[in-house]
C-alpha cells in the first residue's frame, strides 16, 4: 500500500460503527467488503447513516467511494466479477439477506449517477414514471400526482410543467440531472444515493442541485459522494473520509473539517493530496 507517509495508516474507526448522533439511523452497514475478482476494493466498512440528513463521502480518486456506494442498492449484482460481503441494513432489514426478494427492497434506495442518464426515447413524463409503471401502477390520476410531486421536489416542475411530453434529451444538462433525481424520487425510496451528482454540471446548475439536496434532506437520508470539499461543507451534515478502501474517519462535517482526529484526514482536508 503506497501511502503518503511511511507510517502505517490507522483508521480512526475500526470495528463497530461509531455513534455520531442521538437520532435514529436509517441505514447501517456492517463489515462490508467488496471484491473485484481477487482484489479487495472496499475493506470492512461499518457506518451508521442517520435519517433525514446528508452524509458526504470524500476521498481521493480510486479510494473505493463509488464501489461502496453501489453496495447500498445492490448495484454490484450487475457486475459478474464483483462479490459483496457484509450487511447493509435499512430499518433492520438486511438488503443482502438471501431470504428477501431484492426487487422490492432495492427500490427503497434510489440512485442518481454522475452523468445524467434519462431514457432518451422517452418524454419527461415517461421518464419520471418509468419506475412507477414497473411497479404496476397504471392509474393515470396517481401517475400525474407522482409526476408533479417528484418534479416539484427536484425543483424542476416550474421549468417543465407546460410541456411534459417533450423528449427528455431536449433538456439542458442540469435539467436532465434534476429529472434523474425526480425519477429516483418517484419510486418513493427511503434513501437517496448520489454519485458526484453535480460534477458534470455548470456552477448555476450545481447550485440548483445543492438547493434540491438541502430541501430533500428534511425527508430523506441522502448519501452523496463528492470530490469538492467545499460542496461537502455546504451541503452535508456528516462526512466520511475514505482512503484506499478503508474508512479513515467518520464524524459530523463541521468537526471533521475543523478538527480532524486522524493525521491522514487532516492532510487531505488541507489539500496536501487529492
Amino acid at each position: 500500500m503506497a501511502a503518503i507517509t511511511t507510517k502505517k495508516i490507522i483508521p480512526t474507526h475500526i470495528g463497530a460503527p461509531v455513534d455520531v448522533t442521538k437520532s435514529k439511523y436509517k441505514m447501517i452497514t456492517e463489515n462490508v467488503n467488496v471484491y473485484y475478482g481477487n482484489f479487495l476494493a472496499v475493506k470492512n466498512i461499518s457506518i451508521k447513516f442517520p435519517e433525514k440528513s446528508v452524509t458526504a463521502l470524500i476521498g481521493p480518486s480510486g479510494c473505493g467511494k463509488t464501489t461502496f456506494l453501489r453496495c447500498l442498492n445492490r448495484m454490484h449484482d450487475m457486475t459478474k466479477s464483483a462479490r459483496v460481503e457484509g450487511k447493509v441494513m435499512i430499518d433492520d432489514i438486511d438488503l443482502y439477506d438471501k431470504s428477501i426478494d431484492p426487487i422490492y427492497h432495492r427500490r427503497k434506495v434510489g440512485m442518481v449517477f454522475q452523468k445524467p442518464n434519462p431514457f432518451p426515447t422517452m418524454s419527461i413524463y415517461d421518464n419520471v414514471v418509468a419506475g412507477v409503471r414497473l411497479n404496476g401502477v397504471r392509474d393515470k390520476k396517481i401517475l400525474d400526482e407522482i409526476v408533479e410531486d417528484s418534479l416539484k421536489m427536484a425543483y424542476l416542475w416550474d421549468e417543465v410543467k407546460d410541456d411534459l411530453r417533450k423528449p427528455a434529451i431536449e433538456l439542458s444538462g442540469g435539467q436532465q440531472q434534476r429529472l434523474c433525481i425526480a425519477r429516483a424520487l418517484a419510486i418513493q425510496p427511503e434513501v437517496l444515493l448520489m454519485d458526484e451528482p453535480a460534477s458534470a454540471l455548470d456552477p448555476i446548475a450545481t447550485q440548483k442541485i445543492e438547493e434540491t439536496i438541502t430541501e430533500l434532506k428534511k425527508d430523506y437520508c441522502i448519501i452523496i459522494i463528492t470530490h469538492n470539499m467545499q460542496q461537502a461543507v455546504r451541503v452535508s451534515d456528516y462526512t466520511g473520509f475514505m482512503y484506499l478502501g478503508d474508512l479513515i474517519e467518520f464524524n459530523e462535517t463541521k468537526k471533521l473539517f475543523t478538527d480532524p482526529k486522524n493525521e491522514l484526514t487532516a492532510k487531505y482536508v488541507k489539500g496536501y493530496f487529492g
Binding site: K80, I103, F119, M122, N135
Partner: protein, 324 residues
Amino acid sequence: MLKREFGKSRGRGPLSDKIFKIAATVAGAYVLAVILVMILQLGWESGPVWQKEGIEFIWGTDWNPVEGRESYGALPYIIGTLVTSAIAMIIAVPLSLGVAMFVLTAPKRIGEPMGYMVELIAAVPSVVFGLWGLFVFRFYFKDLIEQPLHNAFGDSIFLFSGNPFGLDILSAGIILAIMIIPTISAVSRETMLAVPQQQKEAAYMLGSTTWEMFRLAVFPYAKAGLIGASIMGLGRAVGETMAVTMIIGNATGLAAIPDSLFDAGQTMPSIIANEFIEASPASIHVSALIAVGLVLFLIAMAINVVAHFLVTRMLKIREGAVNN
C-alpha cells in the same frame, strides 16, 4: 534495413507515395466499378426480353421457353422470393432475438459456447442444407407437421389446403429461417451491446428485473439497430440459392404462384440455378433469366443498403445520445 530504405527513399521522392495512393484508391474504387459494370451488363444482356415483354415482364406470369411461342414473366419468382423470405423472417426474427438475449445474459461458460454454435450454422454451406432438407428434414416435416395440419385445417384455412409433399414453400421458408438466424442474432447482439452501460444502470436502479431492463433500457435504445439486423437477415434470405433450389419443388410460370403453404414454388435465385445451363442460346430464355437476375440484384441491393444504413446509424448514435 532502415539505412538502405533511408538512402533509397531520398532518391524516389514523393512519386512512389503518389503511385501507392493511386493504387490503393483504385483498389478501393474496384467495388464501385464492379457494381456499376454489373448493373450495366445485366441490363444490356437482358435487353432482348425487355424489348419483347416490356416492363410487363415484372408482373407477367408466363414462362414458356418453347421457340416460336416464347413468353416470360418474372412475377411468380418475385412472389416466391417474397413469400419464402417472409416465412423465414417470421420465424427467424423472434428466435434470433431470443438467442441474442440468451448469449448476453447467460453466464459466460454457457453463453459463449452457445453463441459460437449458432455462428457455426453460418459456416454450413447452402448446398449441404439443401441435401439435408431434401433427404432428411422434408420427410419428418411432412409427416409430423404438414400432413397433420392439412388433415386438420385443410378445408378451413387456405394456407393448409394444398396436398403436402415436403418440397414446398413452407419447408423452404423454414430452412431459410435456420440459415439466417446467425446473421440476425449476431448483429442484434452487437446492437444491444452498444447500449451504454448507464442506461442499463438507470433501469436497474429503478428496481427492474433483467427482462424489464431489456424492455426499458435496451430495446427502445437499440430499436433502429435491431430492425437493421432483421433487414440484413432479409437480404440474406432473398439471395439464398442452393438450399431453396433443392427444396422448393421447382415449379414454373403460373404454377409457381403458391395457393397454399404446401404448394411447390420458385424463387428468383432458384429459377436461375435450375434453368441457366439448359437454356438454349438461340432463344431469349437466357436473357429472361438474366433479367430475373437484374431484378434480384436491385431488390437485394436496396434491402442491404437500408439495413446497413440503419445499423451504422444506431452504432453511431451511441456516441451522442445524451447531450450535455
